[in-house]
Symmetry: C2
Subunit: 462 residues, 2 copies
């Protein structure tokens, strides 16, 4: 079908003066006896096009009665309208109704609550807010690929189904084809997972990191970007059962290289979105989160700070701020602590490094003090932790010792340990929850509103 | 760590004459009494760098004894070597051993079978073949994003966990947190999925298409690119339980628009890979699939053919070729039929269109003959079907009629049907199995060899 996108018209309206055909959906219709206006949006651009229609159209009456949401194909004359709110409009010579939309259409022109729109998630991308959110999501995803690919990182599709025991216990979804009512049993009367699809119990992954490390030992610089899962029953605005994660992993690299990569990536993605979603970002700034544009621009221009965990604890202890959770060396930083550090003390994004080993994962590299590990969290104003990463323990003896302390079974990790036996190198990486990034970029405050069809405890609609 | 990638050096060796530091892994070591050569590969480039080391190095003896696979940091003088096999080499002034590699390292310098390498999938990206495969996979993934994003398509992350009944029965993995041994029962003594994580039975998706259609009705042009799952117990070189799929969906578009999009996309991806993986593609052409380069170049330059299913059946019936499976109007085309059409009859990629409704899905648009639907399969030489797509049935009454014929339950599809009630439009889309594309681009013949860690019946290693 030969139509032109509304994005293209807005890009260079003067070169389309003359006859054009656009296709899209009705946002509003206003009519008087002999003429009327339709706002048509085709989803390619945040703004709509104003179509003027007059009673010389054979289907004038039908058009005047069109409902919000109807699909149209409009042919007409594009005329520039300098000095008016929109830079051009289309005077229709024909309007074809591609698909009608009855009055019971749930998206009538009025403000709907986000809660209500979640119940009609299959329609909400047609609204200004969610149209903008999901376009930003798409652009940010591409920006991430572009960032890593231009730096020659290899994109690794790490597996989602895992039968490996080394991802940590609990809070995983089981993946199975066994009969739920009558699973096969073994001689001990236990469920016999040998008869399950993969010949053993399988789950949905919580992280691609360990697999990504195998690729980093081959390609040096790699990243994953794919779905991960948590079977956490937390019903909060920040938890989803299915979400996307970015996990780069770099070889011959230490914690400083890791932080530099994280800083470069965050700035790149923000810049990309600011440049490619100008209208959407202005909308968020005006209607969703006043000041978000300034906050993002500040981040792009800031040199991110660095502070050790130990130093950060001193700063928090020395502050006059009353915290809900007590601060002491060894405590896990809470969002209130993180936000104080980045918003009030440093007033810019800041990396907190070298956390106590007790509150971090077994694979993080032990520092010389034998008390802290080479971990880093990136804290940003308005949200707290955005990224968590570390240098990985590449020394086989140190790693084995740490696993023993934690009661981890060496055999479950044989291939992960082999990476330290066969040409192991210093290496580092981090994880970025993609939804948290989108919340950060848009000012949306509920993770359910940045995922097309969110999956949370008790809910997997559509 | 300040090192320079081997890709960068190969890109412009003349500008790096002088002192450089590279980091990478030993591919081979040859030494005589007073000097030696090491091939170092850092994974950023298909080719290795030749490092010359001499006995003035304090650790000369250690270096000479290095095993294949050891990780090194080499500083030295880059000198151009015109007329030799490699355009430059590095005369080492220091070689630091970052990680040793003992003789039991499974990847000694010899040819290993693909079957053997599958058993050490965590190491195989370090080999020439799999290094090339997974780099091409990464580049092809990026090319797909680039193609769609440059055309302003919105990338939609459709959900992987689905509780929707509308994806078709059987062959799906169940996702659960219920106790496998003692699941809760309801009053009828059946497993009570109300107590499962999502409050009902949930599975892993087999396609993002239906969700993508909801987005196309908002953004016009959208695509998904994510994992999909099949619990098929087929143990063949073409089946995997977890694989990635690309599914674009375009509104205000018919089957011709769909075919044009598919042709443009295939050509774009091939061109991108030929341009960005020259060394890898030459390697495949020489060692994996002789003639693959010529075949791919032909495709880029061909105008894809079009033939209706009915016409294709006549061609097959009229050919002198003996087929294993009988040909008759109404039969599903087998790979042997597809390959005859594309390789022998048309000698180029060809779209077969308008298949009998009985062998296609319920959502495909009914043609006027009421016997065929507006479907298309893209057949390519060397493989057969690469892409399957269709125009979707946008007429509510026709769709409902077809669902009734097939015994599908209207209520299970309420939101999908609503898309036809609320401003529905002509629309179309297709699906491309990403692994099949990678097999096509590389000449690899087993799907297990184009997935980093393949999941198949009985196997979910690493």
């Amino acid at each position: 079908m030969k139509t032109i996108s509304i994005r293209t018209l807005y890009g260079m309206p003067e070169s389309y003066v003359g006859t054009v055909t656009v296709a899209g959906w009705v946002r509003t219709v206003r009519d008087s006896k002999t003429f009327g206006f339709i706002e048509v949006n085709d989803g390619t651009f945040f703004k709509s096009v104003q179509v003027v229609f007059e009673d010389h159209l054979s289907n004038f009456k039908e058009i005047a009665k069109l409902g919000v949401g109807a699909a149209l194909i409009v042919t007409g004359e594009l005329v520039l309208t300098p000095g008016q709110k929109q830079p051009f409009e289309i005077k229709a010579t024909s309007i074809e109704v591609e698909g009608e939309c009855p009055p019971e259409y749930p998206l009538q022109k009025k403000r709907h609550s986000f809660e209500y729109l979640r119940q009609i998630a299959y329609l909400r991308p047609r609204t200004n807010t969610f149209g903008a959110v999901f376009r930003v999501r798409s652009l940010a995803a591409y920006a991430i690929h572009k960032f890593f690919q231009e730096r020659n990182f290899v994109y690794a599709h790490t597996p989602l189904i895992t039968a490996s025991d080394c991802e940590g216990a609990g809070e995983m979804f089981r993946v199975t084809t066994l009969d739920p009512a009558n699973p096969p049993k073994n001689e001990q009367g236990e469920v016999n997972f040998k008869e399950d699809f993969f010949g053993k119990m399988a789950s949905l992954t919580v992280s691609g990191q360990l697999s990504a490390e195998t690729f980093a030992m081959a390609f040096r610089d790699v990243y994953t970007f794919g779905p991960t899962f948590r079977a956490e029953k937390s019903n909060t605005p920040r938890h989803a059962a299915e979400f996307w994660m970015i996990e780069p992993e770099i070889a011959f690299a230490d914690l400083n290289d890791d932080m530099q990569l994280a800083e470069d990536m965050v700035k790149f993605v923000i810049n990309y979105v600011l440049e490619h979603a100008k209208e959407e970002m202005q909308f968020f700034n005006q209607f969703v989160d006043k000041g978000i544009l300034e906050r993002l621009e500040n981040i792009v221009n800031a040199d991110f700070g660095k502070v050790s965990y130990t130093e950060a604890i001193k700063i928090l202890e020395g502050s006059s701020k009353k915290f809900e959770y007590p601060v002491f060396w060894g405590c896990d930083l809470q969002t209130e602590h993180e936000r104080y550090l980045t918003e009030e003390h440093f007033q810019k994004p800041v990396f907190v490094t070298d956390y106590p080993k007790e509150i971090k994962a077994f694979y993080m590299r032990m520092n010389e003090d034998n008390k802290t590990v080479a971990a880093m969290d990136l804290l940003v104003p308005g949200i707290g932790e955005l990224i968590g990463g570390s240098q990985r323990e590449e020394r086989l003896d140190v790693l084995l010792e740490r696993m023993k302390e934690l009661g981890l079974n060496e055999e479950d990790y044989w291939w992960y340990l082999d990476l330290r036996r066969f040409g192991g190198t210093r290496h580092a990486g981090f994880g970025l929850g993609f939804e948290r990034l989108i919340m950060y970029l848009t000012g949306m405050t509920n993770i359910r509103d940045v995922i097309p069809f969110p999956r949370t405890t008790g809910s997997a609609e559509f």
